[in-house]
Amino acid sequence: MSLKETFDKKRVAGRLLGSPILLVIIAMAVLSAAFVPNFATLYNLKNLLLQTCDLLIISLGVTFTVLNGGLDFSSTSVLALSSVVGAYIMALSPLKGTGLSILLAIVVMVAIGAAVGAINGFSVVKLKMPSFIVTLSTQLFFSGMAIYFTSKVTDKASIMGLPSAFYRIGGEKAFFLPIVIAAAVFLVSHWLMTRTIFGRHVLLVGTNPKSCHISGINVKRVVFLLFLLSGIYAGAASVVLTARNQAGISSLGDKMFIDIMSSIIIGGTSIFGGSGGAKHTLYGVIFITMLSNVMNLLGMDWYVLSLVKGFIVIIAALADILSNRRKNYAAAAA
């Protein structure tokens, strides 16, 4: 698609109408700017943008597993474990405070994600366990491990005193850095899902693995890679979040999973697998983050926010289920 086509008026209009969530986001932004006090301030918008980036990276990873009709609970435990191990390397290990420690920490944090992802992938593909059970177990196990690790290396609740250069990744004195990272992760994900053979296989395998197997697609490899990627993304998200919080925290992201799944479902990636993608998750993440932000500014209690989110997610899931049912009927009648 050429640039000219991309910005063609009709196409833009069609795309807006084709994804109602975009319209909702725009409407919400305009209304909030007009009526919600302190919404359109530089401070708030900056905050909003940073929160969007954090949620986006990790949600994109989980999106891969949802595209296969599964999910990945364990991503939040990767946030925590990577955070405390990375912080340990930078603040408490013999290398502490050096540039090398930062580099090593980042590599290890992402590698932890890859390892957890590989365990999940192996269990789903080779042991044929449902991803729900596998990732629920790994979530429990690795978040427990994060707390245990923290208790062994420090007597405080979190690991502080990281090198200040590391904080830049979180946005300190370099506001654009996390945004650039999130944008890069998004673009790579979008490219991966829409342009490459891997992405195409993901959508096909997520719809009908049996047919894919007979057509010579290595279904097991695809599914394994999805979980591996989800883990790697969670590791990367942990790097950004740990830098933002300027500490290794063993409870990092423990309330995030609901927002991750809400974003993915509201964005329109089907919980049955096979349709959706990075762009959908981007919209969902913007929506959820903005909703939380606006309700916060309006001074609403957290339980009201929870009520509203719950309601919206069930509506989005219902829409998905109904359209899937229609699809199946159409298929059965064809």
Partner: protein, 503 residues
């Protein structure tokens, strides 16, 4: 039998998605009668029984039960009207006891709890009636097949069944169990229960039934007193159709063997199979439902596991087949079930057509060459005359059966195969598309492809194949060249695994 029929089906018509499968079927069943129902695969037996059982509706005609109009809307209506089915696969819950199974859909209650005592008393009545040596508390999973079937029959009687329909009841029974079943059926008859007995084993039908109704291609050929029939006569009635469809012919050359299988054993079968296909040859594989044709094809392609054997593709050994390896060696596999296995229904024509060869159109970093993909899809859609305005936008689920099947063939043609497995490639396809598919299969053969075509339509295999293999219980029992094609011979191999002269 002169008494008023208990069940009367008159001129029943039924279509699926525009294709008529029953063209006015008649059947009548008298009280206390055992009526045989025979016909080839696809003759309409199952459809007719599903209509009787309230699974499908029917388009026109009348059904009368005990003189009153009978139009079951659900299987429950059929049960309430006193019609019960005993199928090949039992509907029992193997983890429950005999007594529980008899009452599983309406447990007797005593207060808030289930009345176990009453269930067991009732179960004991049937155990005594059929002289079984079991307790009402025996779990069904520990019972042999024959006894399970009697439990199933007891369940029907407990629901006051007046008509019991047996659909291939002897498939999983030992010879001794079969004798016992026939005794039970005799007993049912004596109690005034009417029975419809569906089977491919004509000897059994001859022996057990009073009359036999023959179906052929969705028509009832007639109902005959068994005393006036012999087996040959039934076979003649089952297959005695005119070859009325025109099959395209083509000049082609049959060359060297390109696909050879020696002593191949699929998992779950103990019979080794050998076969060969030559280039340019269309080999038909005929057999009854359950003869093991689909399973053989599927394991030859590696989609299902196999135990061993030798496969040579163009002289080169193919050990431990997997779909990926088979595709690399130039084998294609059009599966029987296009909705679940052949296609990805909610995706576009283009996505479906290119899925087998997508890895051949990718450049650096695994990026798909979209323009090449689009070109390939357009070419194939044109080549196979798939009716669509836009292969990039139209979803496969919105295509007709014939066009869907063309998409399945197109996706395999894309991989330029040398050996083509096709399992029921024209099932659920309209006549026009059928002809086009036959023409295309011929075209493939002319270009040197070897085709192995599984079909349950006798006319089809006789019409387009150069040779017919007949399968019977996982074995290939006949290899018949075109010059020796003969409907009665082929069906006899398929029914009995051999030719016997006894009538």
């Amino acid at each position: 039998m002169s008494s008023q029929p208990l069940l009367q089906l008159d001129n029943i018509h039924k279509s699926f998605y525009g294709a008529e499968v029953l063209h006015g079927v008649n059947l009548d069943l008298c009280p206390g009668e055992v009526l045989g129902l025979v016909g080839e695969n696809g003759a309409g037996k199952s459809t007719l029984m599903s209509i009787l059982g309230g699974v499908y509706g029917f388009d026109s005609g009348t059904m009368r039960l005990g003189g009153e109009v009978y139009t079951p809307a659900t299987p429950n209506d059929a049960t309430r009207a006193g019609i019960a089915f005993i199928r090949q696969e039992f509907s029992l819950f193997s983890n429950l006891t005999v007594a529980e199974n008899l009452f599983v859909d309406r447990f007797p209650r005593r207060g808030l709890s289930v009345d176990n005592k009453k269930m067991e008393e009732r179960a004991q009545v049937y155990i005594d009636l059929f002289r079984l040596d079991i307790s009402p508390r025996t779990r069904v999973e520990s019972l042999p097949m024959g006894v399970r079937q009697i439990v199933e029959i007891s369940k029907a009687l407990e629901k006051d069944a007046k008509i019991i329909i047996f659909d291939e009841p002897t498939t999983s029974l030992s010879p001794k169990e079969k004798e016992e079943l026939f005794e039970v059926i005799g007993g049912l008859k004596a109690r005034g229960v009417s029975i419809i007995y569906i089977s491919h084993i004509l000897e059994d039908v001859m022996r057990l039934c009073d009359r036999t109704t023959v179906l052929r291609d969705g028509n009832s050929v007639g109902t005959f007193q068994n005393s006036a029939l012999d087996k040959r006569e039934i076979i003649r009635l089952m297959v005695g159709r005119e070859m009325n469809q025109v099959y395209p012919t083509i000049e082609k050359e049959i060359g060297e063997p390109i696909y050879e299988v020696r002593e191949f054993v699929r998992s779950g079968s103990r019979s080794p199979v050998s076969l060969e296909i030559r280039s340019g040859e269309i080999v038909g594989m005929f057999g009854l439902m359950g003869a093991g044709r689909t399973e053989l094809l599927s394991s030859l392609f590696g989609a299902e596991p196999s135990e061993g054997g030798e496969i040579l593709v163009r002289g080169k050994a193919l050990t431990r087949p997997t779909p990926t390896r088979c595709i690399r060696e130039g084998i294609a596999y059009v599966t029987e079930n296009r909705r679940q296995e052949g296609l990805i229904m909610p995706k576009t024509i283009e996505e479906n057509v290119t899925m087998v060869v997508l890895d051949r159109m990718t450049g650096a970093l695994g990026v798909v060459d979209r323009s090449r993909e689009k070109r390939t899809a357009l070419d194939l859609v044109k080549k196979l005359t798939v009716k669509t305005s836009d292969p990039q936008r139209q979803f496969v689920k919105n295509l007709s059966g014939g066009n869907q099947q063309k998409v399945v063939i197109a996706k395999w043609v894309a991989s330029e195969p040398k050996v083509f497995f096709m399992d029921e490639p024209t099932r659920g396809v309209d006549v026009g598309a059928k002809y086009e598919i036959y023409t295309y299969i011929n075209e493939l053969a002319r270009e040197g492809c070897g085709v192995l075509l599984v079909s349950s339509e006798m006319e089809e295999v006789m019409g387009i194949c150069d040779r017919i293999l007949v399968m019977y219980r996982d074995r290939i029992v006949a290899d018949i060249p075109k010059a020796a094609f003969d409907q009665e011979r082929i069906i006899q191999y398929a029914l009995e695994g051999g030719i016997s002269d006894a009538g």
